[in-house]
């Protein structure tokens, strides 16, 4: 690590060590590490599209405490974000809907260091259907009755999680009934504004879609445990702000905001 000023290095290392200690400690450590240091500059956060609602709120709260900071977002499917970063797209922080995509970045040397890699939330899958549930879908098994099912691409996390859910329910749906969306949000849009009968997407996305779709929950035994992870990127040129953002995500306030969107504590 190379920092121009020792104070900055101290602040960063203290907050990193503190964040290693676990969720809920981050915020305190960040205040402890840099009591009068004013964070500034712009950071770019590449995040899974299922985080778009919650991250915008978190950035608002983060900026309230750090008025000189600007947070720019780049939302997309986790695997396309990884591809962008490997192709050299400038970004300070990445947050994915799984662990394996960030592992790809660790392997290609794009993550600033394993200590900057954190799991910060969990999510589940759920079924979204047309408002009022006209096809009376109650279980995953009932999905065999739909005409068109909307899923994410089979290589992005939400598509892989959906495949696991269908597999756990021993349900084999013909590919000719499946429309593949570019990311989690658009998979849901195919039901809310399009003509797909159902979608298997993140619970948080279904919750934030409010009245445009109806929610059918999937029991735990047939569900997955989507673990969201975040990392600092090697090419970041504003590491102290980027690390502060990661810490904020793990802080009590950040966690509360995430949970208000339906995410589960790690």
């Amino acid at each position: 690590m190379q920092f121009r000023r020792p104070l900055v290095a101290l602040a960063v290392s203290v907050s990193v060590i503190a964040s290693l200690a676990g969720v809920g400690q981050g915020e305190a450590a960040y205040q402890l590490g840099a009591p009068e240091k004013v964070l500034q500059g712009t950071i770019t956060v590449s995040a899974a599209s299922s985080l778009s609602g919650s991250f915008v709120e978190i950035a608002k709260a983060f900026r309230k405490e750090n008025p000189k900071v600007k947070v720019r977002f780049n939302f997309g499917s986790s695997s396309s974000l990884v591809a962008q970063i490997q192709a050299g797209a400038p970004s300070d922080v990445i947050a994915t809907a799984d662990l394996s995509n960030i592992e790809k970045l660790v392997k290609s040397g794009e993550v600033a260091g394993a200590i900057y890699l954190k799991m910060f939330a969990r999510n589940q899958m759920a079924i979204a259907v047309k408002p009022g549930n006209p096809l009376k879908i109650k279980t995953v098994g009932d999905l065999k009755n739909v005409k068109f099912l909307s899923l994410c691409g089979s290589t992005v996390p939400c598509g892989q999680y959906a495949a696991t859910v269908l597999k756990l329910a021993r349900l084999n749906i013909n590919e000719s009934k499946i429309t593949r969306a570019v990311d989690a949000k658009s998979a849901l849009n195919a039901v809310s504004i399009g003509d797909a009968d159902a979608a298997v997407v993140y619970l948080t996305d279904v919750l934030s879609a409010k009245k445009s779709v109806s929610l059918v929950k999937i029991p735990k035994a047939l569900n997955v445990d989507a673990i969201y992870s975040v990392a600092l990127l090697r090419t970041s040129n504003n590491r102290e702000t980027a690390v502060a953002f990661i810490d904020y995500l793990l802080s009590v306030k950040g966690q509360e905001l995430l949970q208000s969107f339906g995410f589960i504590k790690i």
């Binding site: 068109f148 590919e175 593949r180 969306a181 399009g194």
Partner: protein, 267 residues
């Protein structure tokens, strides 16, 4: 043809600007070639899902061009030849899909022809059981929607460039409307008509946003080549590059074959 007057040579900075323009467009396209594994090109293109995407693209883009022609030719005619109030407004609306984000076009198509919420689509489904979304016909509708303005623009330009004295002459020589249209107007219009068809077809072939939003992305049913490229970029980048290469070659061939017909002024 009269001999052209020699044109004065443009200043140096114009040459430099033009050179940068060429590099700007060509560098990414040529760079794409580096990613292609030539040895396995054929096997990648004849792979099941890839082949069905290519086949679907060919069929739907041709059908979309025919639809654009049926709707676009009369439209261009009226815009070029009939002076009426609000002419410019009609033209602005017809050209809209050219500049609109295609996804917005797809959402608009859903609002009109969707099964569940579409103005016309709900009626179609309730009375005849016809569903346009998630069907190859839906792909054709989405592609024609974005391709139509290109056809209208080329044909309207061509019609304006035709010297109307030829048509008047045909009338005085006793040709009826149909004969005049077929023997005179259509022949004079041919270069711009060909150009319009070619550009509309190339645009339909490359359509992505409106298609995935309106017709979905169902393998073998509505998954056209650009949609397959997008999904393959993550699972099998090599196959994605091979498919992109095919699209590129086809479009280059179309544009080269048109040469100077695009502006419709070759007389």
């Amino acid at each position: 043809m009269t001999k052209r007057r020699p044109i004065s040579r443009p200043p140096l900075f114009i040459y430099i600007g033009a050179m940068f323009g060429v590099v700007y467009i060509c560098l990414p396209l040529v760079s794409l070639l580096r990613n292609i594994s030539w040895g396995s090109l054929l096997s990648q293109l004849t792979d099941g899902p890839t082949l069905s995407a290519l086949r679907l693209s060919l069929v739907t883009s041709v059908a979309a061009t025919v639809l654009a022609l049926i709707l676009g030719l009369p439209l261009a005619w009226v815009l070029a030849r009939v002076p009426f109030r609000g002419n410019y407004l009609v033209r602005a609306f017809v050209m809209l899909p050219m500049v609109l984000p295609p996804v917005v076009g797809g959402v608009a198509l859903l609002a009109a022809y969707g099964k569940s919420n579409g103005l016309l689509g709900a009626l179609l489904f309730d009375s005849f059981g016809v569903q346009l979304t998630f069907s190859p016909i839906g792909v054709v509708i989405a592609e024609a929607f974005v391709a139509l303005p290109f056809l209208v623009m080329a044909v309207e330009g061509g019609l304006r460039a035709i010297d109307s004295r030829y048509e008047e002459l045909a009338s005085t020589m006793g040709a009826n409307e149909a004969k005049k249209f077929y023997l005179v107007t259509l022949r004079l219009l041919r270069p711009s008509l060909v150009a319009g068809i070619a550009v509309a077809w190339a645009r339909a072939l490359g359509e992505f946003g409106a298609t995935i939003t309106f017709a979905g992305n169902i393998q073998g049913r509505t998954q056209t080549t650009p949609l397959a490229v997008y999904l393959l970029l993550e699972s099998d980048p090599q196959a994605a590059y091979s498919l992109s290469f095919v699209l590129l070659v086809v479009c280059v061939l179309v544009l080269i074959s048109m040469r100077d017909r695009w502006l419709g002024s070759k007389r």
